[in-house]
Symmetry: C2
Subunit: 356 residues, 2 copies
């Protein structure tokens, strides 16, 4: 695995869920630490000179930190938009960040894509660790280790009272945003989202669609994350998020078992049809594909569909997206051409994966 592979295959560390905890329901765990350098303007205020200075400091820290020196550092004037979109689709950088082709915006990323440090996105550094399944503590530990190491070589903007200073006030304090991506077909199908999610905001958490803020819920994938970064320790944030995630996972498991028993034929029918459609369609939109993959995933988890690995299903979440499809065909495509290629990719992966 190399950075080139990361850009040219469907692989990214979090799809490899085989031995990850709770991976039947939790797709991935992410911890993100926002950090800024003292005496350098925030990214949106950078000019040619301060940008250059900022990048020099970061490059210097990269080379001198044991944790990061083996990683790839890339600035967005060096790679085309398609490659930046690939990184977005792998959840390694934000869509906004990918829009820039600036020579001082970029990413510091390891080969497998479990660590991705955005450079000059909203903050000078956003250190992210993304792992498969429910592994908040491990993700936090790894992110903090890198953070500590970089801090040895960088002068962070830190205030004794407010903690880490950030470009957006909602990140001030720990600068930590922690999130889990959950697959909740049981809760959704049974119409219990309102009941189960109702207290989440009061607990300082928020739940959103697969692609973050403002995105709709597609394929019964949800992102649960903390909203409060101030007044809590990093340990509190991770502990709270993990507890709530565990409760939701528990609820989802109970509902799935109930559905399986009480609505056996309806569920088997729904799953069978989804599998039938997704392996036989010739044209398929991204949203429809995610919805059908959601049902297929439920079928795999309930043992109704055999021989398809959750690895394959996770990989497909990435592989069906536009930039990955474009990489495959090697050319820009119309929406319809993408829908056709998407159907081919899905058929290929699921047929290779096994049979029902």
């Amino acid at each position: 695995m190399s950075f080139t592979d990361l850009l040219n295959t469907n692989f990214v560390h979090w799809v490899d869920s085989a031995r990850a905890p709770e991976s039947d329901i939790v797709i991935s765990s992410r911890v993100r630490l926002a950090r800024n350098l003292r005496r350098i303007p925030f990214p949106h205020m950078l000019d040619e000179n301060t940008g250059k200075k900022c990048v020099e400091d970061i490059k210097n820290a990269w080379k001198n930190s044991t944790e990061t020196r083996g990683m790839n550092i890339v600035f967005f004037n060096q790679i085309p938009l398609i490659d930046r979109q690939i990184l977005v689709e792998k959840h390694l950088i934000s869509p906004n960040h990918a829009q820039s082709d600036s020579n001082y915006r970029g990413v510091l990323v390891n080969d497998v894509g479990s660590i991705a440090i955005m450079i000059n996105e909203e903050d000078h550094l956003r250190i992210q660790c993304i792992l498969p399944g429910l592994q908040m503590e491990e993700a936090s530990k790894r992110a903090q280790k890198i953070d500590d190491d970089l801090e040895n070589n960088l002068d962070y903007a830190f205030n004794e009272k407010r903690g880490y200073l950030t470009s957006c006030p909602t990140n001030v304090g720990t600068g930590m945003r922690a999130s889990v991506m959950l697959h909740l077909p049981g809760i959704t199908i049974s119409g219990q989202t309102n009941r189960i999610f109702q207290n989440i905001n009061q607990l300082g958490m928020t739940i959103r669609g697969l692609y973050g803020e403002g995105t709709e819920i597609v394929g019964n994938f949800y992102q649960l994350s903390n909203q409060v970064t101030l007044g809590l320790t990093e340990e509190d944030i991770i502990y709270n998020l993990t507890s709530i995630a565990r409760q939701i996972v528990e609820q989802e498991r109970i509902i799935r078992e109930k559905l399986k028993v009480q609505m056996q034929y309806q569920i088997e029918d729904r799953i069978g049809r989804a599998y039938g459609i997704i392996t036989n369609a010739k044209v398929i939109t991204s949203n429809e594909a995610l919805s059908l993959l959601s049902d297929v995933r439920l079928g795999v988890n309930l043992g109704i569909i055999k021989d398809i690995k959750s690895f394959t299903l996770n990989e497909l979440i990435v592989a069906i997206r536009p930039a990955h499809l474009q990489k495959r065909t090697g050319k820009e495509m119309t929406a319809v051409e993408r829908d056709i290629t998407r159907a081919e990719v899905i058929k290929e992966k699921l047929n290779a994966a096994g049979s029902k």
Copy 2:
């Protein structure tokens, strides 16, 4: 093949379309001759005595006619409702006829079910010949041969001026009703039914759903039949119906080829999805099954789906109906149980038939 087989399998002659003309579009051809006996009241006016007399005359003719003596004669007090429904689902008797368990109502039918003579339905005799594909002339020839043979041994109600007298005045004259069952997905999908069917009534024909008068169009199956029995010879009726059927077949072929070229992906997608759903559903209603089978049949005809024979698809038109499903499980079922069994039957037949 015996009468018992006819009652206990999905087979009936018209499903065996392998070498039948135009069988990609024409499912079956039927000719029905309405005949009544002189000096015996029409069936709805029969009482115990006249009914007995009528049956005796018919039995006598059956034994003495070369054409019919090898056939099975059954009265509806001798077979249970389920068996009568089986005959309905094979298109050998009418639904109304099956409702009766009278000892003078019944059917005279050959082992393969290409000839079915309803006894005391609306008329004393309704001599039917049903063949696969477009074979109106052959069906007419066979029906008339039986008719001639029976007439040697029966005194038909016939009037020089009006022709054969029938219970319902719309059948007076030749007493001939001829019909073809057509599968017209191209005309239907492309929204051209109105254009193509607009002159049919003026030509003395009518077009209806699969199960005859008053039934909706399901699965793009249509029944084209003559409405006028008086003032035309038998040859005219058969010639006219065959000509119009051929014109419709021609139109359907042209539209299919156009669809295949101009809407390649949409058509392949539609067919692929139909195949995927029908081979993976766990619960399926009769109407949905017919709609999906219609798409699968189109796929087979266009060469998009391989290795499924039209025999299998024709057999499924019969096999998915309630009485045939009940025969299979050997018990009465709820609608949902039937939907489950129907899905099993389809899966079994199509998986046995081949792969895509």
